[in-house]
Symmetry: C2
Subunit: 354 residues, 2 copies
């Protein structure tokens, strides 16, 4: 099922170059000059500059794990929830999973030629960056459901594994799994070392993220909750029971869906939450912060056009195809006492490879 | 919201006595004479009689945890899935959660008097055991959704906690949480001690089971997957964000739903599964057994009318309102090499209090 095997004529670089060149999907390539910092003594967050954000994270973990603190949280109840795209790894110029699905459209059209002249598939096949940049969320959902359906759940994961081993980000020319934010890796490790169980709540498909979550984030598939399509039990030609993915949305993590589905699946209010997008992290951050005792809500602001990207209305920048930080969410963060992380000011470095 | 506080005129005993007296819901009360057995040396399953079932469980754990075995499973991948009703605790004369919901019908009708003359609510209010025994699964779903909706998710859990502290099973006159099968507690502990993560996949509501799962089974809410109703984000009168339960089914664990939803939520095929009902465990047990390497599928047969209950077509007994073991599932178990546990022959004792 790898698009690379079956579609030699389909050029990933053309697609990504087109995406990166469109004004609504900035892919500014600039020299990366920030040197990697070595861990400083016993600092659990060495890639963070000293400041209010780093202090708030350290303080939160201290007061919730010190048995003498009034905000102590028993070990079994320590839960932290992390958005993925734009919070744990790069989401520009477009979500990694969407790139995966776009690259699978030629395969899909080969199997179902009637889709060739139908939007949004036609726009994808054209490779026209402007047309691609116009795709709505609804179009993207349609593409995701169409390209990920009919497949055995285990075969899907294998296909994702093969794709991730070959695909490269158009700006850094590295595997997507290299583009994890090093400061967030440190947060995951710091929380874990203090007895927290880390969960991912993503707008993407849980099955996609589950393929690498353990290896890359130390988070097992059982702790990854995504926007989920239906799974159907049946039998293959040898009468062996199988599960296949169906083109039907069952759990939608957009908007308030992320925190609704977190409760539905995991049955608790997290103690801490990290996100970055008004479109699907805001209610999660609100709900977490509104709980009793010490609660930590952290919103990552993409304000570093040099080392990563800068986007979103909170900085007077235009909206983009990926999650943005609205002025409303910015005001809410200040009013409710969330922590806003400036990638530019709070992070010494962005990636482990730097 | 406790029915005991607000409905002094509603008599739990009348309802349960009526349920227990109906022919389709046998509630045979007989003297319990099996003495409790002390743990024998280092036997991890002291409440199990020696036999094929006990041996299969011990062998499975040994070969999947011995690094020298060809069937070794790495620590991070050891997953066991357990049905609850009829597998971990008593499901007769009717599922505990359904009893909870039935007892909340008077509260509901007080709030919505228009339901008083409508079925299935009318039948519940009548307290007529025969009418209650006729309730279909659809009726029961309607009652569950109606009684559990509109409530804040945290308030619901608190109400369940209060109810469980007072409610008693009509046969043993003990809290429902005392009616856990001691041999299965030993299995949970044995698996956990060998690095397995235990999960509950229940036809009931995850929110109901999550209230006591950690305390009673050592399984945290994050590892409980149920039939789930929608959760809705909103604000209370003080503009505080809240989550409420809605009368809409989102994940249905009936039939093949249990294994479909297990993959959807937890993204893996369990190594071992334990169930007892043809109506919602069969496909789970099939799918688990069909995986590669060593796989354990265990079906508990309720064949002990003296110490617990005996029911189901596999023994030529009638169907009941709760999960039953069909002849088809019995044949499938034999053909595919599942383990069928006879409660009568394989279990030395049933409950910890004996």
């Amino acid at each position: 099922m790898s698009s690379n095997d079956s579609n030699p004529g389909f050029d990933r670089r053309t697609l990504l170059a087109a995406l990166a060149a469109t004004p609504a999907l900035p892919g500014i390539v600039l020299p990366i000059s920030t040197p990697a910092q070595a861990a400083e003594g016993s600092d659990p967050l060495p890639s963070w500059n000293d400041g209010a954000a780093k202090k708030a994270i350290l303080d939160f973990v201290r007061v919730t794990t010190d048995p003498a603190s009034k905000d102590f949280v028993p070990l079994a109840e320590r839960i932290a929830e992390f958005d993925q795209d734009g919070t744990l790894w790069v989401e520009h110029p477009i979500y990694t999973q969407v790139t995966y699905c776009l690259e699978h459209v030629p395969d899909l059209v080969k199997a179902k030629p009637e889709l060739k002249d139908r939007e949004p598939f036609k726009a994808v096949l054209s490779g026209n960056g402007e047309a691609l940049a116009q795709l709505s969320l609804r179009d993207i959902f349609e593409i995701v459901l169409a390209t990920q359906s009919g497949m055995d759940v285990e075969a899907f994961r294998e296909d994702v594994r093969h794709w991730l081993a070959e695909a490269k980000h158009p700006r850094w020319h590295r595997p997507y799994t290299d583009l994890i934010y090093q400061p967030m890796t440190e947060v995951l490790n710091f929380f874990r070392a203090n007895g927290y169980r880390n969960f991912i709540a993503t707008g993407g498909s849980g099955g996609f993220v589950s393929e690498y979550s353990e290896k890359v984030y130390g988070i097992p598939p059982q702790q990854v909750a995504g926007t989920e399509q239906a799974i159907k039990f049946g039998y293959d030609k040898d009468k062996k029971p199988i599960l296949t993915q169906e083109p039907k949305l069952v759990l939608d993590n957009m908007g308030a869906g992320k925190i609704q589905n977190f409760w539905l699946i995991y049955g608790c209010r997290p103690n801490a939450a990290f996100g970055n997008s008004s479109s699907d992290d805001q209610q999660m951050l609100e709900y977490v912060k509104a709980g009793g005792g010490a609660r930590l809500s952290v919103a990552v602001l993409h304000d570093d056009a040099v080392r990563e990207y800068a986007y979103g209305p909170a900085q007077g920048l235009p909206n983009t195809a990926v999650g943005t930080f609205s002025q409303e969410m910015y005001d809410m963060a200040k009013e409710q006492g969330w922590i806003v992380v400036s990638m530019k000011d709070d992070w010494k470095r962005i990636f482990a490879f730097q």
